[in-house]
Symmetry: C2
Subunit: 351 residues, 2 copies
Amino acid sequence: MAVPTLEWKGGLPGELAMIDQTLLPGSLVVIKVKDIDSLRNDIRRLAVRGAPAIGLAACFGVVLGVQEFIGDRQAFDRRLSEVIDFLAQARPTAVNLFGGLERMRRTADENPDLDTPAIKQRLLDEAQAALREDQEICLELGELGQTLLPDNSGALTHCNAGALATSDHGTALSVFFAAARAGKTITVYADETRPLLQGARLTAWELKQAGIDVTLICDNAAGHVMKEGRIDAVFVGADRIAANGDTANKIGTYSVSVLAKAHCVPFYVVAPVSTIDMDTPDGASIPIEERSGDEVRRFGDTSVAPSDVKAYNPAFDVTPAENITAIVTEKGIIREPTTERIAAVVAGQGD
Amino acid sequence: MAVPTLEWKGGLPGELAMIDQTLLPGSLVVIKVKDIDSLRNDIRRLAVRGAPAIGLAACFGVVLGVQEFIGDRQAFDRRLSEVIDFLAQARPTAVNLFGGLERMRRTADENPDLDTPAIKQRLLDEAQAALREDQEICLELGELGQTLLPDNSGALTHCNAGALATSDHGTALSVFFAAARAGKTITVYADETRPLLQGARLTAWELKQAGIDVTLICDNAAGHVMKEGRIDAVFVGADRIAANGDTANKIGTYSVSVLAKAHCVPFYVVAPVSTIDMDTPDGASIPIEERSGDEVRRFGDTSVAPSDVKAYNPAFDVTPAENITAIVTEKGIIREPTTERIAAVVAGQGD
């Protein structure tokens, strides 16, 4: 993308520049984040969203939280723990948040001999490395995933698993970008993805910018569009994949998976290995964030329902492994995912 | 309802007073419709919507179109045909529109000896009779339908099949009103129903006014809510039921039917016999209205997607009979609907 989803500006001290995704597509505004209070709030209000992007924001967030710290290494490590604990409260579902924070903690643990200035630099280097790796992984996800998408086909995606959900390229959308690079003719149907319309605002914007044929639909039209034979495959991202393959993703993903199964349309989850949480045995163990009912009752500044009506607003749902044709990771494609097959790929022994 | 969905004001000439449903729930505004150009436009812009209400608006619309006519009976009949042909262009899917117009034509045909003033009065009387019948039918639909809804249960509904979609009481919502009158404790989940949010704006408003426990959800949360075990039955209305039971209703109804089937939740269509079109053999023969993509790209006055992105906006979809547990009509409940069972009930020989 011309403007990166997020990037570190300056050295130490520096700041995290991020696109404020709540303002897209109307305005492309880059915000400069300088402290962890702001960052945690920005993650909660979805200025930055998408599991891999949240993970990277957390890595840089750790740097933001410790870069001004003055004191010996022992005191630094205590500060580091406080920062990590604070940022871990941002959102509960996407495991990449915790993975990013854990990566930073491990970096500190593995470098006990560095003094405070040196470990600060080491942590910034680690965050930058995580960002570069994410870009490479996303490219690889696209190349692997596009082998599953035939030429002259229609695909459906839900929410935004694009460049904006990662450092670049995206996960599910990377498949479409790679298919286009490979010369395939594809049509993408984008679910608008209520309540916050990441499909309408972000996915439609990204695909249009990339010159990919995209058609926006209301979420509730997905079944009709499949029945009409327009969809040959579904590609979605993931916020957390349990050890058995059950996958938490944006609310509505589960419905799409049921519809895909009923129409014999393959359903693919595209995610880096870092989104797989081998410590979560199954979907029932994944914490599902419930957000304010105002997101449903209101749109922007417009009230669309009686202001005092109850609204239920789970931000995610869980698609059981049995509804997933394959999980595309940078280490390989896991078909008919099971705990054994997933563990093998995570360990680097998959196909 | 305190304010009726639609009612005739005055005698001849008179006017049709209708709630402008596009302004709910923010404003309760009654518009006075005096000519058929305005009425056809009001039907197209969904100021009045819902198959039975459209049918009644068409009946009164015929009166609006002929009430000022001066001339002999032969010339009157030509004018009547023009008015009917004009109003038939309002919207294509709901069969009640055509049924209402046909009822008025038949009334004229059956009274060839009435002079122009007398046939005008006869047509107004017929429209008023249709309105009273609709109220009685809707009450009966509720009483019959509520026998299918257990005490202490959760129900899901899509779009608005309430008092606002009829002259009063509603079709699917009449079931909930009747269950409440019968002392049952029920919780209703209302799909918000994008793009025009009839669930959020109208169903939530009606149920809340009636003191029924209602929770608003995004359309894409229906599968998750079923998976959580919150839904014991689905009740929806219909815009046209084909002879074989295939049912056109608001876009998204088909997806809900697939989800209900996957979760073993009974799926009920509640509609007057006048919504059954024995001349349409199956769902493939039902014309599906496609509306402007702006309804998807915009949310009220707010643009929510790139303004030049393609959007596909079918207003209805078709639920195949095999996904329908039963059709509730005022003449009886048609379980596992087939052409034979439907024909028997339409002929008054059902259960």
